[in-house]
Symmetry: D2
Subunit: 283 residues, 4 copies
């Protein structure tokens, strides 16, 4: 049997759970867990995550998907299916600060993340040693205002075929709309503030100057609008009057690591559904 | 249509979701939300909360319940059904400290809790004025070691018929096993520590002496074993070296109010299923 | 002896602690607690809160203050002194939502706040009953765009002499610069978002639409720039995909009550020093 | 100038701050920050942490310490002095689980911890590679019930001279009273529960079985009584009904890393004073 996750979103109407669960049952699968959500009882959208054991000796993936596609069409549903046997491939982009990269590589090595890391790309050489030590190919792609387009093309060539999604682990360059349009797949970013507060540069300094009593970090999907993408996870911590900007940065690094790790954990578990500007993150 | 909540627990097996959702669908109901949980993929127990709109002009409560009882028997399920039109009745027991009582009365008055409060019982007169002001009957039932049995009988006479569940809002008397056996319905208690730490008397003093850096409060169901009942909700807050025992008590009162309010909120929403020593609290 | 709090801020330089503590010691006072803070080791500002027992039979308040004024001048210090025997008077302004008002009145009655409440002012009649019940004078001062100036004058006439500071406990009218300039004393406000996110109207709706995973409330001093005053306290809580805007409001009310109560607690304890856009809140 | 930290504890009495700050001032030092705490206004103990710039060209360490020793004797004070130029040496003990070790080595390498790590000792070979990669000597000292005494002697021989304190980074062996008596210096441990709940073995399983809604991790000083030493730091996180014991462990690892890192950070900053069963942790 193969642990399988089916993510669905469609207009809400009566009988969807019955329709889907009956379909699953008729295809000899045992539902392990299932979650539903409706944004609005009246005319809202319906979201479903259903995890089941597919008995491939009785029903093949092809049969299941073909049959399901017909039901999905009926329901007007967007959907995706994920088999536990398929390990997704993530490309990591990083600049100089290595705490998030380090944390991800450790979690990967320790088996916490079921993911492949075919490559790490950076616009600086600083992290090469660390990445080498893990036996992962490291690509140095410097970016200057003049070479930005070319550099992005280089990155795209590296990741387009080799990855299923990207993680910006404190990558301090803004990816152009052109890059996003070309890559098409999901890109997760960690921003070092409690969004929507303190977008843009040097958010810990901004937070210090504003005198907030709690700081945060935000993991979100990248969209063309800077720091405006759908939020996946946020972590916060209290700060004190004694805390300097450097203390905020130190505390913030812990938040960044954890918010990004939690977001990736949810992503690899297929617990996230994007709904325009928002995300449904099933638990 | 009547918003209806059905809570189910049974041994896990293939097809339960399909069976239940098909049943609901066939009885002309629209599922509003549904949650499932299995404790263990292999041979575990299955828990379900399903919220649906019952169209009573098409299917009566009697018909629905009779039909459902047959399905439940098939599944070996324990279940309960709750109609939004039925407002449960809670009896509140309190001693001298009135912060939780006060908080509950306010939330009740402001419409946050959909509940009736037929009476408040106390072993002290301190809270009478407050309760009078809300127009709720207040009963003074003093308790001494000698009169305990008689006092409990008095309480039982007051609440047995008039209430659907009890809340101990800092009631500092331990209810005897005899009382629990006689009352049978749910009793929620707030304990002023982060259980299982600091059971029994004066937990803030215990917490201070042990030097913990975080204190808590715990809302739980009452069982014969003191402070050992299934936990519903816990709240915590950081303490500092400057905090005295009185500061811990002050911070703790906020935690107690909130933990108890959240627990009652979940209870009134029928989001809690008891599973031996644990609780499933759907969100 | 009289518990006395002295708050000081001045340019940092060598020997301030020695100078101040020697002064206190020489005036026969026992220091109970003292806190210092320097914003920047080089050329920063110095902040001090010192709590001591003034033995008025040995040194009178007048003598102490006169002597101290000379030292303060030497140090170039701004300062204020607060005797535990003087209970400050707060005027509360509120609109329709009464949860913060209610919470404050309860804390006041229970002795948690050492403060007098000479009056409550509202632009609506909704809270009159509640306030009456506490035996506190309630003043209804309606505000329309046309009558705003006159209404503010009315409020000013009510509070100018009778209060030492104001609390806006969900008062939904913006006080004009003219009012602030005339009143001069401190005004504390509770804003129902995690500032600087979601300034202005309907912040829970804004938070929902943006899809944040954590919401907050912010207690701050009022300044002419809307929702831009120095922050005193912030509280946050996690939200879930199931939470509607109404759930955010319900959770938010708990945060608002607590953030405002903590801010007032610190204020009454004289633990807050304003430093331009920021606050030092000693613990 | 040398950044110097002086930690003091003594019986409380009038004039200590004046006496100490005058002493510091007279020795040409500029106080950078200072914190005081009295456990009890009447007859309590007094704790002080004072950070100052020692101008060694004007006053030598020897002179300062000799002069200070006389004042300390007057005050009946226990004290310790710490110069920023002296980097303490920590010995790390670990078993199989490497997440805390890993986190510490990363923080050390990144400059977050100002500490030397002369060696890592383990009763298993699992972490050798990781430690080797950092160029730190790794010592394998296996422990069986029969060889425990001999093994502890081996550990003692390794750390007695070479370290200033020890950190047990998930070292799963209990150090004997004999070892503690012989080593004498501080030993910090991370326990994977919210102490005093769930002492001893398999605390996440205990937490799961008890059905708590929040789990924690505790960094504390090691004393002869198991898991009873003075607590330095605690971190907590909410758990959900869906969380398995493995999820608790995964979440717990984040808490363990952070609680231990915060404790070490405070320790290296000389912000901790032990007071019998409790700790004062200045911020």
């Amino acid at each position: 049997m193969t642990r399988t996750v089916l993510l669905i979103q469609c207009p809400d109407k009566k009988g969807i759970v019955a329709r889907v669960s009956e379909f699953i049952f008729r295809h000899e699968c045992n539902i392990l867990t299932s979650d539903q959500h409706t944004t609005d009882p009246e005319g809202g959208r319906y979201f479903m995550r259903i995890v089941f054991a597919l008995e491939e000796d009785k029903v093949s993936r092809e049969t299941f998907e073909q049959d399901w596609a017909r039901v999905a069409e009926e329901l007007g549903a967007k959907w995706s299916i994920h088999y536990a046997t398929e390990t997704p491939r993530v490309g990591i982009l990083v600049s100089k600060q290595d705490h998030c990269l380090f944390d991800l590589l450790y979690r990967h090595r320790s088996g916490e993340f079921s993911v492949q890391i075919p490559l790490v790309i950076s616009n600086h050489e600083d992290c090469r040693d660390l990445v080498d030590r893990y036996g992962i190919p490291f690509h140095y792609v410097p970016v200057t205002p003049e070479t930005k387009l070319k550099a992005e093309q280089q990155v795209l060539d590296l990741v387009q075929e080799s990855t299923d999604f990207l993680v910006l682990a404190r990558y301090m360059r803004i990816l152009s709309d052109g890059f996003l349009a070309a890559y098409k797949k999901d890109i997760l970013n960690i921003h070092h503030s409690f969004l929507p507060s303190f977008k843009g540069a040097d958010p810990y300094r901004q937070a210090y100057d504003r005198g907030v009593k709690i700081i945060g970090a935000t993991a979100h999907f990248v969209t063309p609008a800077l720091d405006e993408g759908p939020i996946i996870e946020q972590m916060v911590e209290r700060v004190y009057y004694k805390d300097t900007v450097d203390d905020l940065k130190r505390k913030g690094r812990n938040l960044e690591k954890l918010a990004l790790a939690n977001a990736i954990h949810a992503y690899l578990d297929h617990r996230i559904i994007r709904d325009a500007q928002r995300t449904i993150v099933f638990q």
